[in-house]
Symmetry: C2
Subunit: 308 residues, 2 copies
Amino acid sequence: MGKLVIVGTLAFDAIETPFGKTDKILGGAATYIGLSASQFNVDAAIVSIVGGDFPKEYLDLLSDKNINLSGVEIVENGKTFFWSGKYHNDMNSRDTLATELNTLADFNPVVPEDYRDAEIVMLGNLHPLVQLSVLNQMTVKPKLVILDTMNFWMDCALDDLHTVIKKIDVITINDEEARQLTGEYSLVVAARKIHSMGPKYVVIKKGEHGALLFNNDNVFYAPALPLEEVFDPTGAGDTFAGGFAGYITKTGDTSFENMKNAIIHGSTLASFCVEKFGTERMQNLSKKEVHKRLLQFKQLTQFEIELT
Amino acid sequence: MGKLVIVGTLAFDAIETPFGKTDKILGGAATYIGLSASQFNVDAAIVSIVGGDFPKEYLDLLSDKNINLSGVEIVENGKTFFWSGKYHNDMNSRDTLATELNTLADFNPVVPEDYRDAEIVMLGNLHPLVQLSVLNQMTVKPKLVILDTMNFWMDCALDDLHTVIKKIDVITINDEEARQLTGEYSLVVAARKIHSMGPKYVVIKKGEHGALLFNNDNVFYAPALPLEEVFDPTGAGDTFAGGFAGYITKTGDTSFENMKNAIIHGSTLASFCVEKFGTERMQNLSKKEVHKRLLQFKQLTQFEIELT
């Protein structure tokens, strides 16, 4: 069983969608990544920081999934990172209403000793220098480092972002971010430019339109499951990344062929995430439900064409 | 060998894209549908109308592909339908600069006697009453009727559109049109509503994001090939529909499983269409090129997941 290190936020989210709104609920990139990766029974550890206001039940929820939390710093007299957002009617865009960094402002990640030889490292969306610090603590070169980031860091920490991008294997970003990072509209050309920045694998998330995986001339396109209703898109990208990282960790296989499967698993898990507010759907997801939806995914995309 | 009736425009197009602009060149829905369907060596006939200004070489180009043109009315002292459009930088939206109906304003389609028993009928984008007139001329109930339409008819001839939609088997529209026709944002819900209007099969074209096929609870999602450069999107939707109709005509198989293949063939042909201005790429497309891209399509989408 491979080890997986996850760095990212543990947070409070307050979310408003056309279907309703929540008070402060459990959120954060590491939360979604961890819950998703835990589907694969891997030996995962979260590296993060919270304040004394972070409920013990939230931590228990994660450790009950066998996620190691020894790398989570608890600042007793500090407050936990808080994000609040409101989705527009089309659910594809949102306004950020509040971002309170709180303890996250002084986050110095410390990877637990036992996990400094982890095979797979998942760098969730955070300041690039925090991501870099985690990488630098690994005592054995990881088999695969996956990085998630966002346009915010391209706007205000681009040089640092380039420094960390140079050192990773897989980048996951959305289509708009790929265009911003490269100045190219065509995603094929954008992916090629990102390859030249370092990552051998480029995953471009297109939300309801699926995800693309590029590895030089190899391309894989996984559509998203068409859903009757998207209730809350929060965490879908992290759930996708967590499923991808979890599957790679479980299989230990970093070939392009296996990454296709990791993409399918990530997409499948993300399709559950958006069905309820926050992490609700991910907390009690059964293997049977996932299995059923993987079969649906196969029916959705597979065809048998005769090439004569 | 099955017969295919195609009704649609033969036209002059003047196109401007970020890559250049053309004078009046060969265009029209029936042109693109015909060129695409001719890849399958089916017995196809175009029902359309042109003016005396329509060059004989354009007609020869189509008849050289073994497309029967006895249903094309030539109004010697009339002018051919003309459309002019300019694409925006993202190539996903365009402005119509000019639409001159000319002879099309008085088009009374006449299906040639020999084709009134055709198995497959492809109703290209035209006034719904023109589409209906073609259907009413069929002496044997066709095995499959495919209809393409657009938002324009939803705005100004909705009742007529509903009348013809009730009588057809497959509708092909884009995502925005599906939303307009049903008032539903979710494409899953929109497809269900369209089923209740008549069509057992709903094909939703999403351009660079691929195409969806719905048949009640069966769904298939074919992504589009990621392209380095889209040169001119004109005719891509018609080329897709022509490939779909041509493949169904050739195989004579209207099952859901076979429609998946028809979607893949249509998508593949459309991926060529956008590589050059107008019909240029479709005029000399070799079977070998198509075969190669079908293999690419398979690699792009197929995966082998172990479900344990």
